[in-house]
């Protein structure tokens, strides 16, 4: 926006732009008398400059029309009035006249209008409000008058009836033969017309008017023929059906074209997107529907399951009642409703700890028959095997006892007939840890079964050790057992049996320490661990022939009375051996 101010000298300069947001001081002309003089001269002398240097705002009238004579006259007059204060002569733009009409207004427009108290609300259309669309023209009037003169007053066709018929013919033709004016379609016959009387509201003709259908039809047909089969009602050319777009465009009488026709073209690109969106939406909705369907199925399943469970429960209850009434006593196995899987391993103390249960997925707690139930789990396999092992051990123990029935265990520390399963397991585990000494409770007792866990180590041949000749004929029952972990085994004698070079069986021995003190700390124990010459005693038999038990043992053996009580056999209290602290060691028979 440029403003111009011409101070003295009339030199113009470019002013700052006018910001529409800056506040402008409003002044009365009288307040700024000093400036006004300048402005006045400015306006007076450089009128055109003053105008042109201000931003030109478009008047909005076409520039060519703006220069029209009368408009300019008025504008100039107004400008003169606004600027120079001249009393504007009443200049106006001449327009063609509108004069009072000579028609009898009151007859045509009856004074029916009554103003409603509230604002009018109205939605009927012109078509709703104007009755039969056809309006008689002067020719129709002549025809109708001539037609009616021949008839009795009661037989006369009224104007309304005539218009109904004409309207019906016109509308029917327009509906049935939209191109009647151009394609030489034969005019619809009266019969066809009459068929249509009831068809549509627009074609409707009163019963009374139908008497004149034929006469009016003939007249209509003639008029139509005169009019080149065009509609008798003047119609706007809204769309030319028979010509292309170009012809339409150049015809000034064609108006009110529909816009939608071309809108399609414009939105084609968007249509594709919309179609894609709709497809996607449909797909998603179908998926959602499918999900809901599945949920429904599941809930039906649950319901059925509940019903079945209830049935089962009730039937069990009836079974129980039946049993009570019949006084049948057995385990109430079949009364347990929520049965845990039958094949759960019983003797797996560690099963819970191992977390096998936790690996199962939760869910489907009510499942009728889980497929997993049919599968054999690892746990069960292990449990099965263990059971078999235990069983065979028990069997062996039984047979062992049976075989030993008539034998007497004369050993100092009698053999335990049964190994605990833990021992077995641990034994198998410790196979690799072979070169350790094992606590041995050896008895001089003959046993027919070979030791179950003889450990032969042929790799120890190099070891220098007393050679023990093994006599195949002499069955020396030797039992090994791991020292019990509960009590300290350090004071017990330890032996190791091994097969030496040439097949000799060598039994190494380690005797308890001479001065063992319970309260020695581990460090000291460790220090003196090897501080004894147990190897030197290897020649010695290791049997303290002077010990009381030794005497007792030998005497018992010599007496020839076997001790049959296996309990007694087994229970050789360690106190017996360990009781004598003064003993240097226990003897273990190697031969």
């Amino acid at each position: 926006m440029r403003g111009a101010a011409g101070p003295a000298g009339g030199s113009r300069f470019r002013a700052r732009k006018l910001n529409t947001k800056t506040a402008l001081t409003i002044l009365r002309e009288s307040d700024v008398a000093g400036d006004i003089a300048e402005h006045d001269t400015h306006i007076g002398t450089e009128r055109s400059d003053a105008i042109t240097s201000l931003p030109k705002v478009e008047s909005g009238v076409e520039s060519k029309e703006e220069r029209e004579h009368h408009l300019q006259a008025v504008i100039n007059a107004a400008r003169a009035a606004a600027t120079a204060g001249a009393n504007a002569a009443q200049v106006s733009i001449p327009t063609p006249d509108a004069v009072a009409s000579s028609i009898s207004y009151d007859k045509l427009y009856p004074p029916h209008f009554r103003q409603p108290h509230t604002y009018i609300r109205f939605s009927s259309t012109v078509e709703d409000s104007t009755g039969v669309p056809y309006c008689m023209n002067a020719e129709d009037d002549i025809f109708l008058k001539a037609f009616n003169t021949k008839r009795q007053p009661v037989q006369q066709c009224s104007e309304d009836e005539f218009e109904q018929l004409m309207s019906s013919y016109e509308e029917t033709t327009a509906a049935r033969q939209p191109f009647a004016a151009v394609d030489n379609t034969p005019v619809l016959s009266l019969e066809e017309m009459e068929l249509c009387f009831e068809e549509h509201e627009r074609f409707l003709v009163d019963e009374r008017a139908r008497k004149f259908a034929k006469d009016v039809y003939e007249y209509w047909k003639a008029e139509r023929g005169k009019n080149l089969n065009k509609s008798l009602m003047p119609k706007l050319k809204t769309l030319k059906m028979d010509s292309g777009q170009e012809a339409d465009d150049s015809d000034p009488y064609v108006c009110f074209r529909r816009r939608e026709v071309r809108q399609v073209r414009k939105t084609r690109g968007r249509d594709a997107q919309v179609v894609e969106k709709l497809k996607k939406l449909r797909k998603e909705l179908e998926e959602a529907r499918h999900l809901l369907h599945l949920v429904k199925q599941r809930e039906y399943g649950r319901k059925e399951d509940l019903e079945l469970s209830r049935t089962i429960f009730e039937q069990r209850a009836s079974v129980r009642d039946m049993k009570r009434t019949l006084d049948i006593r057995d385990d109430d196995e079949d009364l347990i409703t929520q049965r845990t899987p039958k094949r759960r391993p019983q003797d797996m103390p560690n099963a819970a700890n191992r977390g096998l249960n936790q690996t199962r997925l939760p869910g489907r707690p009510d499942s009728v028959s889980a497929p997993e139930a049919d599968l054999i789990s690892f746990r069960e396999v292990v449990a099965q095997r263990d059971r078999e092992v235990t069983k065979s051990i028990n069997g062996n123990v039984l047979s062992h006892e049976r075989w030993n029935r008539d034998f007497i265990d004369r050993t100092e520390q009698q053999l335990r007939a049964v190994f605990s399963p833990e021992d077995l397991l641990m034994d198998s585990d410790s196979e690799e840890v072979m070169p350790a000494f094992v606590g041995v409770k050896a008895e001089y007792i003959q046993q027919p079964t070979p030791p179950a866990s003889v450990i032969a180590d042929s790799n120890d041949e190099d070891e220098a050790s007393p050679i023990v000749r093994e006599d195949a004929n002499e069955k020396i029952p030797v039992r090994f057992a791991r020292p019990s972990e509960q009590k300290s085994f350090a004071r017990e004698p330890h032996y190791r049996r091994r097969t030496a070079r040439g097949g000799r069986v060598v039994l190494d021995r380690r005797m308890p320490r001479m001065a063992f003190k319970e309260n020695l700390n581990d460090r000291l124990v460790d220090r003196f661990k090897y501080d004894q010459d147990d190897g030197d005693d290897s020649s010695d038999d290791g049997v303290d022939i002077y010990s009381a038990t030794g005497f007792a043992f030998r005497s018992q053996w010599a007496s020839g009375h076997p001790r049959v009580d296996p309990q007694a056999q087994r229970r050789v209290p360690p106190a017996t051996t360990a009781g004598g602290d003064g003993q240097s060691g226990n003897a273990a028979g190697a031969r």
Binding site: I93, A98, R259
Partner: protein, 503 residues
Amino acid sequence: MVHRDESHDASEVAEPLEKGFATLETLRTGVKAMVEKQGEKRKAEILSIMIRKGRPTYYVHYEDFNKRLDEWIEGSRIDLSQEVEWPAPEKPDKKDKSKDKTSKTDVLKDKSNSNLKRPRSLIDRASGTPEASAGKTQSRTLRAGGKENREELAVITTEDMDATPQPEDESMDIVDVQTAAAAAKALAPNEPYSREEEIEKLRTSGSMTQNQTEISRVRNLTKMQMGHHEIEPWYFSPYPQEFTDSDLVYICEFCLESFPDFKPFSRHRAKCTLLHPPGNEIYRDDKVSFFEIDGRRQRTWCRNLCLLSKLFLDHKTLYYDVDPFLFYCMTTRDEYGCHLVGYFSKEKESAEGYNVACILNLPQYQRQGFGRLLIDFSYILSKREGKLGSPEKPLSDLGLLAYRAYWQETIVDLLLDGRTEANVEELSTAAAMTTNDVLHTLQNLNMLRFSKNQHVIVVTDVVIQQRERQREKEKIKGKHHLRPELLIWKPPVFTASSRTWNW
């Protein structure tokens, strides 16, 4: 439009214009002759010739007069004692020459004003000569030559090669030239293309056309009877072609149906039950009522209204249907019903922010202050909507005057309400006028001044005097004012679907 050719004569003295004496028999369309008009002789162009009752009558357009004054005249009013100008035959070589002469800056200015308008098509149409195509070929040659002028200037000038500046054109501002030149460039050089463009524009918005072929038509109806009045149409309107034969076309005052004859009209009146515009009354005071009518719901009525208003609005186009417009109809009431006085249409959604598309005060009610009420109401609606509004362009001459008067009154009242300063945006918000219209008004009244290095608004004494005189006159005459509190109206909301499918 015709003045252009006149100016052409004036400036190009060297250009030999075919002049000569004519007789009634040799007169043809395109000829310009002096015609007696209200006691004086004016140059007029014959646009059409018809034999009526055995005698030829001539449809003439007076230069520098609005087209509404075009008329059919007897041959006797044509002054054949003076030479007449014959329509220029197309001679490409001659036009080349004329181009050389006219390619001056002043021509450029003139051209810029004129090219929005395309006066040529009128002449072409009337004379039936294919001048447009000649013009095209010529512009091509010119561009190829491109001698003394910059090429763009040359291009611009060629569009109107026979147009030369009028004396009063000298005052044109160069800025205006530039904007007009830009507009000229925006318009395609050849007529069919720009027409297509315009149709496309009209399809989406607007109701006014710049298209000369639509504007330049010969008026087709002689006289209209409506209500208590008989009205002379001003411009062409596409009523059914049968009506052109009728001397008096009857229009039902309430449903606006038209009839070429009295008999069908009287029959129609016997059946018609409408007593007011077929819509909802949204404003009522002791003098006028306003009805809101949806072009889609009342298609027939609105079409009738548009046909009627086209008789008095030159630039209105009826190319497309009335669906995207709302019609606000002002009526007076009596025991006969609500008589349509005027209306304005409004786009349901205006891309340009127009609050009025077409506005018409029926000729029988003009000069009674109704036009101001219509304009006022359009701004009351805009205020209710919380929008700024402006009428769709181009304005007619009468429209411009009416709007300027309203704007002046509104702005001056705002400035005189005791405030000491105001910015343009405040004024525009208070009046619901666009800032451009506010500026236009301030400048037009010479109130926007630059003093002490800043802009000020100076309320001139003459403006105050004018306003006071006006107020006194209003007191005496009892001027009617609309009262916004009587408007019972919520801005209608149209979704895309409701616009398309009428949901």
